[in-house]
């Protein structure tokens, strides 16, 4: 049985960009800032495309929730080998305050509509670091979940997943359908090749609204203030080891 795989692609501020807080402290500066696909999502896309290449998957569909520019992120996924994209158009205040619960509901609904067998997501996004979407999506669908995957294998209609957990590795088996979240060491994403970039231009991207999916995206939180992290204070030099230990004890570090 070849599987249908749904992958999530969040558009985030590029990892190499220095983040600046807006002067009014309502968020961070995003205008004119380079954005790219969340690196963990790139790993998820790569894994889904490899599943297709190994004929484990029959179709890979990428989803991105956000403004018009999210389609650029989807194009990157298409250039990596994803078959088609779904852009869930969320903009304005709804987008600024979009939470994992909203995205989970959207993904769950699309997975049902598209009859997907596997939802493959990045373990977290590098902007809000929520690490909730995969877990909540699994709950909403009542599907098993295997998070922080560093290896995924298909065995007799089930998936065997090697998970990175505190202090070691855990192997779990999950029945399909399932939700999996990708960790850093799952794979190394490929470069989009020129012929595939060309092909990606012709691949379809369907645009839908959360309303079409029956999902509310009304803000559930209010941002009171966004602050820069405190500036690091300069250290001090001490005379000898004894003073060092005394000082460390003083500040409660040892």
């Amino acid at each position: 049985m070849a599987l249908r795989v749904l992958v999530g692609c969040k558009r985030v501020i590029d990892y190499a960009v220095r983040i600046r807080v807006k002067p009014d402290k309502t968020g961070v500066v995003t205008d004119g800032i380079k954005h790219s696909m969340n690196p963990f999502d790139e790993i998820a896309v790569e894994e889904a495309v490899r599943m297709k290449e190994k004929k484990i998957a029959s179709e890979v569909i990428a989803v991105s929730c956000g403004p018009m520019q999210s389609q650029e992120t989807l194009r990157t996924a298409l250039a990596m080998g994803v078959d088609r994209g779904i852009h869930v158009d969320v903009s304005g205040k709804d987008y600024e305050l979009l939470q994992p619960i909203h995205v989970s509901k959207i993904l769950a609904k699309i997975a049902q509509e598209e009859k997907c067998d596997i939802i493959l997501l990045g373990k977290q996004a590098i902007d809000d670091d929520s690490n909730q979407t995969a877990q909540m999506t699994a709950s909403l669908l009542n599907w098993p979940q295997a998070t922080y995957a560093s290896k995924i294998e298909k065995t007799n209609g089930e998936l065997q997943v090697l998970r990175e957990i505190d202090g070691g590795l855990e192997t779990v088996r999950v029945k399909i359908p399932a939700v999996i979240s990708a960790d850093l060491r799952l794979n190394e994403p490929r470069y989009a090749t020129l012929p595939n970039i060309m092909k990606a231009k012709k691949k379809p991207i369907k645009k839908v609204t959360p309303g079409d999916l029956g999902v509310e995206t009304d803000p559930r939180i209010e941002i009171l203030s966004v602050e820069d992290p405190p500036e690091r204070q300069a250290g001090i030099k001490v005379e000898d080891v004894d003073t060092l230990i005394a000082k460390l004890k003083e500040v409660g570090r040892i």
């Binding site: 650029e72 470069y191 989009a192 060309m198």
Partner: protein, 379 residues
């Protein structure tokens, strides 16, 4: 997306090696072959012939991004993709394309082009290499080619030779490195572009089958000139890449380096260099991509198109050398050392004022077109 893809490739595959390869005059063979996996080596070849089916704009973008990191590999890429592969794709017969393109596009074979000769540089049509037709239809080629990018490491060469009595009786032959009588001369030691091998090609009674002649006999002047146009446009992209990185490095340095208690960027003499460089770079970028777009859309033909390409390269090449010098000056003592890339990049940039038409030849091309009415007096 193309730019992003090439940029990350260059960062991961080219950047770690270039400093060392520049030092030892090596070649990043592994990365070059990987350009085939990326689909970049047949960038301008039609999709049905196994290429990417893109044009001068795409090739220029790829070269700008690559050259920002490693101009040497970019130059080898130009010789391969634009001078050899593009020409076979554009002028070759169906059989020639089937025979040579797959391995060139995958990166299994490396290609080059043979035009310049010891006595025929700027005066390219003054070449002496001759191909004599034999009774069996084959050609016997004698002569030599020089300053051939990818000469020492190439497998397939797109070579021009005289097949008639006049300057314009020029034909093209596809030469394989193992053909009897074909040999490679010395590998040159160079000021810049040191990680792109340059050498000589020697022809001593090389018998080339008629099937390896590209197009009709004595018909190659036009296609050679047309190829010079796309070569000049894309190589202008190479200059842009070099200049862009020099500007980035110098700008960053100006925000970090402090002298007399201030960042050096606060001094107006530094600002003048930085701002002039940035403005000249943007101007060259505009004209280069304009020329590339014009080429892709076929908006200009013949001499008009040649003039546009010549203008782009003339400006971009001079700009990159000057920007390289300015970046070195801003970095001062550090700029003159190999601790920073601008010293290498300035040496690389200088080549573009010479290769693919010297500044002087380009001015000649432009002058001939501008002053066409008094053409007789220009000769």
């Amino acid at each position: 997306m193309l730019a992003e893809s090439v940029k990350s490739f260059a960062k991961e595959q080219l950047a770690p090696k270039i400093e060392h390869l520049d030092e030892i005059e090596g070649f990043n063979d592994a990365a070059f072959r990987k350009l085939g996996d990326l689909g970049l080596l047949g960038i301008t070849v039609a999709e049905e012939d196994g290429g990417a089916g893109m044009g001068a704009v795409a090739a220029t973008i790829a070269m700008e991004e690559m050259a920002a990191v490693d101009a040497s590999t970019t130059l080898s890429y130009l010789a391969h993709s634009i001078l050899c592969v593009n020409q076979i794709g554009r002028n070759g017969s169906k059989e020639q394309k089937q025979k040579y393109l797959p391995k060139l596009i995958s990166g299994e074979h490396i290609g080059g082009m043979g035009m310049s000769e010891p006595g025929a540089g700027s005066d390219a049509l003054g070449m002496l290499t001759r191909a004599e037709k034999q009774a069996n239809g084959a050609y016997k080629i004698n002569g030599s080619k020089t300053w051939i990018t990818n000469g020492p490491n190439g497998d397939i060469f797109y070579c021009y030779a005289k097949t008639g009595p006049t300057k314009k009786d020029l034909s093209t032959f596809i030469i394989e490195k193992d053909m009897v009588g074909f040999s490679k001369g010395k590998k040159f030691k160079k000021m810049g572009m040191r990680a792109s091998p340059t050498g000589e090609l020697w022809f001593t009674d090389v018998m080339v089958p008629e099937a390896n002649r590209v197009g009709e006999e004595n018909s190659s002047v036009k296609s050679m000139m047309r190829n010079l146009d796309i070569e000049r446009i894309t190589i202008a992209g190479l200059s842009l890449g070099i200049a862009r990185n020099c500007i980035e490095v110098a700008t960053q340095y100006s925000k970090e380096r402090k002298q007399f208690g201030k960042h050096i960027g606060a001094f107006q003499q530094v600002q003048e260099r930085l701002t002039e460089a940035a403005a000249w770079y943007e101007a060259c970028r505009a004209i280069t991509y304009q020329a590339a777009k014009t080429w892709d859309l076929g908006l200009m033909q013949g001499k008009e198109a040649s003039m546009m390409a010549a203008k782009a390269k003339l400006q971009a090449a001079q700009m990159a050398t000057q920007v390289g010098l300015d970046a070195i000056q801003i970095l001062g003592g550090y700029g003159y050392t190999r601790e920073f890339p601008v010293e290498r990049q300035m040496r690389d940039a200088k080549l573009i004022e010479i290769g693919a038409g010297t500044n002087e030849v380009l001015r000649l091309v432009i002058a001939r077109q501008m002053l066409g009415e008094i053409a007789d007096e220009l000769k």
